[in-house]
């Protein structure tokens, strides 16, 4: 007799050939990975909670995508190649349409990265999604937060701020046209983990430090500066705004690119001598990158405009937990 929760599990069981480095998948007390000899295993866990990381009633397909995307983004920021993930799920009830959408969104992104679901847990409770993701990389090649060096360029992948703009629309902070909303909302609900770029930057290796921007660039770059014991100057007007944000006014553009949240772009540093290599890695990964600042010996983060004039965007009260 199948219980409600056995039925749930069936949405996550798939009959398909697994990866050769997954020695055992779902169905026993543990899953088994057979790591490539000499490689390290990169591991990250993220927990997504309703009303905090996503709206109640959020589209389940997009939610399945996002739950895995934010974890793959951590692998990308480390320069690791995705292998597998576990999924622990608390659900208030077994809603078949929800499970169908969620699992389709999840597996669409998982398959794109050949990342196999190898185990997890399902239970009744307030909606909570906890994914732990596994990747591999060569020892010494990880893109660490503490590896930025004075003189490094600061780079950003893709564009910033459209996820925050979509949120501003939902929150009625900004009046968005239907077109602007349609352009911005996917950046909030279905972020693109920059896995190929992270791999390219780590493999050569090209980049020094990297992280993914989940809580806003200024706050997240601060983690690199603290871990590396360095400072930086950031050219706020060089920050690449998302296409919807790019049509908003200048002040909002500055604010949401510098301190938006939910961008899931990479922020990385690399030596000036590696500029051509960065651009080549970006081209191979089909991911645009923009140079936005410089790592410096003097501690602190200096925000400047296009003319190098210091800016105070009033971001001091920014709580880097509010956006994530």
């Amino acid at each position: 007799m199948l219980s409600e929760f056995d039925l749930i599990k069936h949405f996550f069981h798939r009959e398909r050939p697994g990866r050769p480095d997954v020695a055992l998948g779902i169905g026993d007390d543990c899953a088994l990975l057979a790591p490539t000899p000499g490689r390290q295993i990169a591991i990250s866990s993220d927990m997504l909670v309703e009303d905090r990381h996503f709206f109640a009633g959020a589209d389940p397909f997009m939610l399945g995508h996002k739950a895995l995307a934010v974890n793959l983004s951590d692998l990308a920021a480390m320069g690791a190649r995705p292998i597998a993930f576990t999924l622990a799920l608390a659900l208030p009830r077994a809603d078949e349409a929800w499970l169908d959408g969620f699992s389709r969104g999840l597996f669409a992104l998982a398959d794109e990265h050949d990342c196999e679901l190898i185990g997890g847990d399902t239970t009744k409770g307030p909606l909570n999604i906890c994914i732990t993701v596994f990747g591999e990389l060569a020892p010494g090649h990880a893109l660490r937060r503490g590896a930025a060096r004075p003189g490094d360029d600061i780079w950003i992948s893709g564009t910033l701020g459209d996820a925050r703009l979509a949120l501003a629309g939902y929150w009625k902070e900004v009046e968005l046209s239907p077109e602007a909303h349609a352009q911005a909302a996917p950046r909030l609900h279905m972020p693109t983990p920059r896995v190929a770029l992270g791999l390219g930057l780590a493999a050569a290796p090209i980049a020094h430090a990297a992280l993914d921007i989940s809580d806003g660039l200024v706050g997240d770059l601060g983690h690199i500066l603290a871990a590396s014991s360095v400072g930086a100057t950031l050219d706020v007007d060089a920050l690449p705004a998302g296409p919807a944000l790019a049509r908003q006014d200048h002040a909002l553009r500055r604010r949401f690119t510098a301190a938006g949240g939910d961008d899931y772009e990479l922020c990385f540093t690399a030596p000036v001598a590696r500029r051509a290599a960065v651009l080549e890695a970006a081209a191979l990964a089909a991911t645009p990158v923009t140079r936005v600042g410089t790592i410096e010996t003097a501690p602190g983060l200096r925000l400047v405009d296009a003319h190098g004039v210091p800016l105070d965007l009033g971001l001091t009260g920014w709580d880097h937990f509010s956006g994530s």
Copy 2:
């Protein structure tokens, strides 16, 4: 400026020498494991939800212990040696006394098994504890559910039923004396993962199949039978009752040993020729074991009494999710 959730994180950051196979712990986008060459990595995730897996207001020290114990129990059931774990935690608020107790209970057990906290996530939300644990084992040595063979003995570690008896006391199904409650309750709140026994049974290798009993022996043994395409006869009167349950009436003893829940003992099968080796492994692990039945070719699970007479304990309606 430390936010509420930075404070929380401080309870889980410890300055101490890490394991050599943990190349990078808490603080970056990912943790990094450097697996022992040639070993497989065993992985298990469990999510614990308030009011389902533990009572609201549960003692935080015991909860910290239990959250890790149920995961270590999965490693034990596979025969894997613990390495590390991640912790994702949703909390309604940052209660310092709660965090202090929880982290102490968690680390007391973690240190006992040299299992290092390497990362995770903290967020605001309905109380939810999701741990993913990592262990290592030699390829081919995992104690799989599908490895039971006709003729194998069925063994149980420790004793069964006291956790269920404690629950029966809370639920007022049974009137428990204060002494009986004091004896039974630790089995519910602070289960002992049988890590050393699992390692001993897998290393030689001695056992064929194994799992940990979390949802009641009859239901869990059913997973071994199904995965191994075999049947079994189980001597219900041979099942070792916990000391508190042993003083209850015969019918309750049978019911709670056969189909209790939250035991976190190992159920394993081993060839008759390996009985002495099983007992030696048990002695080395300082963990009592009891032989309780036989794996057979004929499908189905036959419950019998001490005289071999078939029993019907009316367990058919047992929902193996209700107890876990």
